[in-house]
């Protein structure tokens, strides 16, 4: 049941309860009333109206004509009360009381703050107009009506928004679950078959081997896609480094990482991932085609380390320094620059014939990895 229905029901209960007020007043002031029978008649008419309009709202919704009629009835009731509820010893007639708040509440629920205030003003003005001008009594009544319209309108808006957000969140959760289920199914069947095709292709050789290689590449691409969907949960401005770096996984690039998310502030995570991409580009540019690369992601609590290792020919001693001296600082500058901006450091070690290793270390600012340990829940 939506919040609007619940509010409508609450207002109906309020309106019937509020009918008690003029009834009690009628009983208390019976001796002083100038016209007791028309007074009772007015209360009866109001009761009938409340019954009718509540039924109308429940079955046919908050239609504008009904809303205007509801408000007009209240104004008329105020006017009628000056005559029907007149007392012989007092200048001010008995009030119909809280019953008048009924349409104000309805207007506020349907139209928000502004409509609520308008309805409140209308009822308040009627009170002042027909019941002896701006006296202390009518004035405080007026303020109560206007505040009622304002507050109920405001809270209804808040409630409707909260309800909307809750529904969105529920839909998102459901979509996430469905995606996980799909991913599991794909794991189960498609990936297995692709891996099998690759395997048999390898054994058969020739054209079949080429088909196998293609299947293998698809298997890897699909797996990367599934895992990135799995990990696509932003944690208040933080990103999972594994997710950003995981995109590089392929035949030639092997990724090793913890089983739990490795979080860094979004900006830092992206910079780190960009540095890794430059390192990989560098391998592609300078190393033979069959060079393999291993990426290791480590979470050391106060810092995150990503190591990029390749089994290429390595950088000859002095080559980096030579490049720096010659003003050709492509790799070193772009990688080191990015990491240093994050307050971290990059070390490049290379042994001729044994490949190159670039270690990128980025500190966790403020509190040094406070989200480590128990808050780092498992998925």
């Amino acid at each position: 049941m939506g919040i609007e229905t619940q509010l409508r029901q609450a207002i109906t209960v309020f309106r019937f309860t509020a009918l008690g007020y003029p009834l009690v007043m009628w009983g208390l002031f019976l001796d002083d009333l100038v016209r007791p029978v028309p007074a009772l008649l007015l209360v009866a008419v109001m009761a009938a109206w409340t019954l009718f309009i509540s039924g109308f709202y429940a079955t046919r919704g908050f239609r504008p004509p009904a809303l205007y009629a509801d408000l007009a009835t209240s104004v008329i009731a105020v006017a009628a009360s000056t005559w029907a509820l007149e007392l012989d010893d007092r200048s001010v007639p008995v009030s119909v009381g809280p019953l008048l708040a009924g349409p104000v509440l309805v207007w506020a629920v349907v139209g928000g703050r502004r409509r609520g205030v308008i309805a409140g003003c209308a009822v308040a003005a009627a009170g002042m107009l027909f019941r002896g001008g701006p006296t202390e009594n009518t004035f405080s009544e007026a303020i109560l009506f206007i505040i009622t319209g304002l507050m109920v309108g405001h809270f209804t808006r808040l409630g409707v928004e909260a309800e909307h957000r809750l529904r969105e969140a529920a839909a998102r959760d459901a979509a996430g679950l469905e995606r996980e289920r799909l991913a599991r199914d794909i794991h189960d069947s498609v990936l297995q078959i692709l891996a099998l095709v690759q395997r048999r292709g390898d054994d058969l050789g020739g054209e079949a081997a080429e088909l196998g290689r293609l299947a293998g590449r698809q298997e890897q691409a699909l797996r990367a896609l599934i895992t990135s969907e799995y990990y696509r949960h932003p944690f208040d401005g933080q990103r999972d480094v594994r997710e950003l770096i995981g995109r590089h996984a392929c035949d030639a690039v092997t990724i090793a990482a913890p089983a739990t998310p490795v979080r860094l502030p979004s900006q830092a995570a992206h910079e780190l991932a960009a540095a890794v991409t430059s390192a990989l580009d560098n391998v592609r540019e300078h190393c033979p085609e069959d060079t393999r690369v291993w990426l290791l992601v480590e979470d050391q609590g106060d810092q995150v380390t990503v190591t990029v290792r390749d089994d290429g020919p390595g950088i000859p001693v002095g080559r980096l320094a030579e490049a720096a001296a010659g003003g050709r600082l492509g790799v070193a500058r772009s990688i080191e620059g990015r990491i240093q901006e994050l307050g971290g450091e990059a070390t490049i070690t290379s042994i001729a014939g044994q490949g190159t290793e670039i270690e990128l270390r980025v500190p966790r600012q403020g509190g040094g990895g406070g989200d480590d340990g128990d808050t780092r829940g498992r998925r």
């Binding site: 794991h187 189960d188 990936l191 297995q192 078959i193 891996a195 099998l196 690759q198 395997r199 048999r200 390898d202 054994d203 293998g216 298997e219 890897q220 797996r223 599934i226 895992t227 799995y230 092997t254 990724i255 090793a256 990482a257 913890p258 089983a259 739990t260 490795v262 393999r292 291993w294 290791l296 992601v297 480590e298 979470d299 050391q300 609590g301 190591t307 290792r309 089994d311 290793e357 480590d372 340990g373 128990d374 780092r376 498992r378 998925r379």
Partner: protein, 209 residues
Amino acid sequence: MVTLVVVDDHPIWRDAIGRDLAEAGHRVLAGVGDGRRALTAIRQLRPDVAILDLQLPDRSGVDVLRELDDCPTKILVLSASGESEDVLEAVKAGARGYLLKSAGTAELLDAVERVAAGDAVFTPGLAGMVLGEYRRLANADEKHPVLSERETEVLRLVAKGLSYKDIAARLFLSHRTVQNHVQRTLNKLQLHNRAQLVRYAIEHGIDED
């Protein structure tokens, strides 16, 4: 020669692996497709090695591993699921090695022989997860297992894709010593996992049956 049981719910897969193993001179005692049959086959036939898929129709491969805790058969996990948490759980539950299904025949045969000989078979991906698990436990559990400096060093090199031979050369160690270091990292994790289960059982009063 190694005796084996192959557990996988895809018959084509079972056949393909079985054929490769037989051609290499090993003996496949049985091939089964679900967890219940796997438990019976492994308990009765007592193979040297069981090759286990983690996704089975009736129960997870991790559950099968847990139930086989006291069985001498060494288990090699062969999974299509990539390197995610279930692989780590499998290793903690007692698997001696792990390979992706996309691994080649030569790699599989090598892994089977090494697992049969009592070695731990690691992929770089698994090494990365094991490293991460030690660090996670250091923050989450008072009685966490600790890696020695050397073990951490070796595990990091495995995660960076170096072969045991390369690692031995780089650290001036014997091939055997490197293997022992890797195996110890796995043993400690499995021991810790078992101790945790026992602690849990005692705390919850289910140690009597």
